[in-house]
Amino acid sequence: MKNQFDIKKAYYLFLLIRKSEEKIIELYNSDKIKSPVHLSIGQEAIAVGVSLALSKSDIIFSNYRGHAHFIAREANLDKMWAELYGKSRGTARGKGGSMHLNDISKNFMPTSAIVTSAIPEAVGYAFALKYKKKNSVVICYHGEGATDEGVFWESLNFASLHDLPIIFICENNRYAIYSHQNTRSINDPIVSRAISFGIDAERISGNSTEEFFKATIRCKEKIKNNSKPQLLECMTSRWQDHVGVTQPELSKEEENNIKKAIKHDDLKNLENKLSKDEVLHIKKRVNKEIEHAIKFAEASDFPRSSELLENVYY
């Protein structure tokens, strides 16, 4: 982690996420990928900005829309692809799929397919860090949909009560599948509700990688100075359907919003800040890594039938 925003690295990670997910879309109808996928296209800036601000020892709790978090954490891309293919060299030896990625070597915890469910776990992990007097922080990514669940507020309350080292990263794309936030809760920012729980919260608009990076650095600083748990409400938009690889069926108004977001795609902004050579080099590297991952997945075997009953119990 550096306090300086590394544009080259940001562009590389952003592109790696975008291209990986575009590849998923391309391959999805071939039925090689044996898993529901919840794509992050449009939301990548958050994962990249946050990840660049983290240390190796920090802990990541993500969710079923987790490809971006996983890749931005530089977790094992080969294994991710093998997992999507249901292969034994996958992150969960084919037993988890896209919704249950994990990479213990990067402190990337297994993700859950049930909205909000891993949030109290993230808080419990932060409790353990404090209990063991460790300096790391927990990053807890979730959508704004998670704030509809009671356990979200139970978690915030406990984190606040015990001053736990955790940063909640609320990716607010305003939609739970097709249900708009306005139909699900009163129209106030999530930050104001979080603040009422004693959480130090800030809303970050603009969907900018660098702004998310800076905000995360601020959060980490505050936690280091014994401050409250932190929450960043990161305003963003999701350009694909909730699940699968289809385009969403949108109202005219919402279609325009997405068009606007695509026009301001931060991937292009980052690209514009780099030299042509740098861009070319990174593009080559990204293509090579994705090709490698797909080959790795294709070459891997499916798990043996005897693995069905393995790892139910310790």
């Binding site: 213990i104 049930i114 808080v123 419990g124 992990y125 009671g150 309350n157 406990f158 790892n311 139910v312």
Partner: protein, 349 residues
């Protein structure tokens, strides 16, 4: 006397306290939490003053938030701690089902062995003096149904202690079921720390005529029934399964091969429950066995004693059915046995 073999008479609640105390002393990663864990009553004395002895970070009160607090325990366990999450009634576990079923039980499988959840969830089943529909439920079958969870329900102070220590040291999530009516039960318990093996049952009384399998408090009533049966010449074998998942099928099969008769007395409703599981196993694996079962009446538990007494199996109803299964006189009316623990319980909970 060798200190290692020293035994003392203590009660079930004291056995739970002793197990918790000794494990907290042995391993700094063990901590106990739950609503009222550090209050003056300390969960019927089972956590009393642990916060003073080990510090308030190792025994603490929580917001009611049962769902969230279960998740906190899971997360802490994933980080290497060994939490004991305590509930005063099993009914409240219904507020934790998402975390227990969707998260705790699956963490190992969905990470293909990278993670484990050494979490103990202690719960007490209530009974009598108006506990009623929502303070007396025995929901063990819900948890027995889920791969990835272990479920134990010790009956004796010995197994309460050895079972809790084994649960704390187990790397899987364990639902540890207590019964409010067992807390005052006394018996010999080793003073030192020890474990029982989770998954092994125990023959509490040998017999040749019929096998009676109870669960938690109904083990106690089955033992009482076996005393009544002596007066009609029936020698019952009484088995305490202790562990409900995994189940020691072997100990039950071996017994019924000998007695040819099986009576399962669940401390819970019979449909899709522990008795269904045991009788199914015996039907598949043992030949020519007569099976019967008893359990809670097929309704929520009423509060009034006049109805509540018909809700639970009791030593007489167990003995009567067992005697009939053994070809005894169907008109035999065993005397009513005084259940001291129930009569003496005057609440409030």
């Amino acid at each position: 006397m060798d200190k290692n073999l020293e035994k003392k008479v203590i009660n079930y609640g004291e056995a739970i306290y002793e197990a918790t105390y000794q494990e907290m002393q042995r391993d700094n990663n063990v901590f106990a939490y739950g609503l009222g864990a550090d209050d003056p009553k300390g969960h019927y004395g089972t956590t009393k003053d642990l916060h003073l002895k080990f510090g308030k970070n190792r025994c603490f009160d929580t917001p009611l938030s049962e769902d969230g607090m279960t998740g906190v325990g899971i997360g802490a366990a994933m980080a290497g701690l060994r939490p004991i999450f305590i509930h005063q009634r099993m009914d409240f576990l219904l507020l934790c089902m998402n975390q227990i079923v969707n998260m705790a039980s699956k963490m190992r499988y969905i990470s293909s062995g990278e993670h484990c959840v050494p979490l103990v969830i202690r719960v007490a089943i209530g009974r009598s003096w108006g506990q009623g529909a929502q303070h007396s439920q025995a929901l063990q079958s819900f948890f027995m149904h889920i791969p990835g969870l272990k479920v134990i329900a010790p009956t004796t102070p010995h197994d309460a202690k050895g079972g809790l220590i084994a649960s704390i040291r187990d790397n899987n999530p364990v639902i540890y079921i207590e019964h409010r009516m067992l807390y005052k039960n006394a018996g010999y318990v080793p003073t030192n720390s020890f474990e029982i093996e989770i998954g092994k049952g125990r023959v509490l009384k040998d017999g040749n005529d019929i096998t009676i399998v109870g669960v938690s408090h109904t083990v106690e009533d089955s033992l009482r029934a076996s005393e009544l049966l002596k007066s009609v010449g029936v020698n019952a074998e009484v088995i305490d399964p202790i562990s409900l998942s995994p189940i020691d099928y072997e100990i039950i099969r071996n017994s019924v091969m000998k007695t040819k008769k099986l009576l399962v007395v669940d401390n819970g409703w019979t449909r899709c429950g522990f008795s269904s599981e045991i009788i199914t196993d015996v039907a598949i694996n043992c030949e020519k066995i007569t099976c019967e079962r008893l359990g809670f009446a097929d309704c929520p538990c009423p509060t009034t004693p006049s109805l509540e007494k018909h809700f639970y199996p009791n030593p007489s109803s167990i003995a009567k059915l067992a005697n009939r299964m053994c070809g005894g006189n169907i008109d035999w009316s065993p005397p009513e046995v005084v259940q001291h623990e129930i009569l003496s319980f005057k609440g409030p909970f």
